[in-house]
Symmetry: C2
Subunit: 203 residues, 2 copies
């Protein structure tokens, strides 16, 4: 079994890349379904799960959570409950034993014992802003400055979540097998290249 994890900067095209790699290799693909499963199990709205996971105040959590004592009271907080559930769901995916691509959710950290192939996807800020503009939903009309602010905020949260779960730094070369910058790539071609790399890695 081979597991590919994709961590990414917001707007870098990491999700699209992950999806295409899964298609090329015939792997299962997990992304949003993880949130849906958590929502279902707790009988709450998907958006609430997403919001709670991404927008909690980190001040309420000791940042050494993963190797120090913390008060049990913390586990009743929604985001901690959901983080735990997310961990379970991701572990269930791994235990199913099928080749898969998992985008986001710190799967690289959570599934460390399965030796996943860990990819980080980044892009230049101007490319990320452009991608966000092209993919904006109807009625959404943010200017460049607002989009950039969003990107930085979301990435800061992603970096913090990782810091909370593991020692390795988010987006740092030491934490991944591969870091790719999508800026001047055709995503289809890049997906082919990365899929080939994953195949060769296992040989």
């Amino acid at each position: 079994m081979k597991i590919i994890t994709i961590s990414r900067e917001f707007g870098s095209g990491g999700r699209e890349l992950g999806k295409k790699i899964a298609e090329i290799l015939g792997y299962d693909y997990y992304d949003r379904q993880i949130i849906s499963t958590i929502a279902e199990r707790h009988d709450v709205d998907e958006n609430y799960v997403e919001y709670a996971l991404n927008n909690h105040t980190w001040q309420t959590i000791p940042l050494t959570f993963h190797h120090s004592f913390v008060s049990p009271a913390i586990f009743s907080m929604p985001h901690v409950k959901f983080l735990n559930e997310q961990k379970h769901v991701i572990e269930e995916i791994a235990k199913a034993g099928k080749n898969c691509v998992i985008v986001g959710r710190n799967a690289d950290v959570l599934l460390e014992e399965y030796n996943p192939f860990n990819i980080f996807v980044c892009a230049d800020m101007s490319a990320k802003i452009k991608r966000c503009q092209e993919r904006a939903e109807e009625g959404e009309n943010l200017n460049e400055k607002q989009i950039k602010k969003n990107i930085l905020r979301i990435d800061k949260n992603r970096a913090r979540t990782r810091f909370f779960l593991a020692d390795g730094e988010w987006g740092h070369r030491k934490s991944y097998h591969l870091i790719v910058n999508t800026t001047d790539w055709d995503i289809d071609k890049l997906a082919q290249a990365v899929a080939k790399m994953v195949e060769l890695h296992g040989e």
Copy 2:
């Protein structure tokens, strides 16, 4: 014409990787020859050039060198002279217009206008120490602690040289198209994968 530049942590196997990529793609390969050329032109020993380039005291140079005024006196210092000569040699290689792989020497920064494909090669510390031990010259008998100290010293110098030449950070994802960690790779297979990636990038 396509130029591939390889920057790397000491002991990560970046040079070996670069050489193999050049072989697979049939590209010219430049590494140590750059130093030899500088030595020849200044009629000095290769090792002196290497030493001067790697062991100067950065305190003597304003770190904003690349966009601020500095005293002309600085250009008479051997390391600055050699850095300038190195720049010329690398630019000559690019101007020759042939596909090539250039390892080290900040070719990624110096040849920015040629849009090279920039790769950074890293590895876990334990893998780098092992590689250094395997490649130690006869009579060289450093212990792990000494090897680690060497690795950190050399990498610190590389990071500083880059800082001196350009804004982008050494080893940071923003500065490269691709970062690969060689730790659990067979270098031959990784070279195949990266060569394939370079081919797809240009299509």
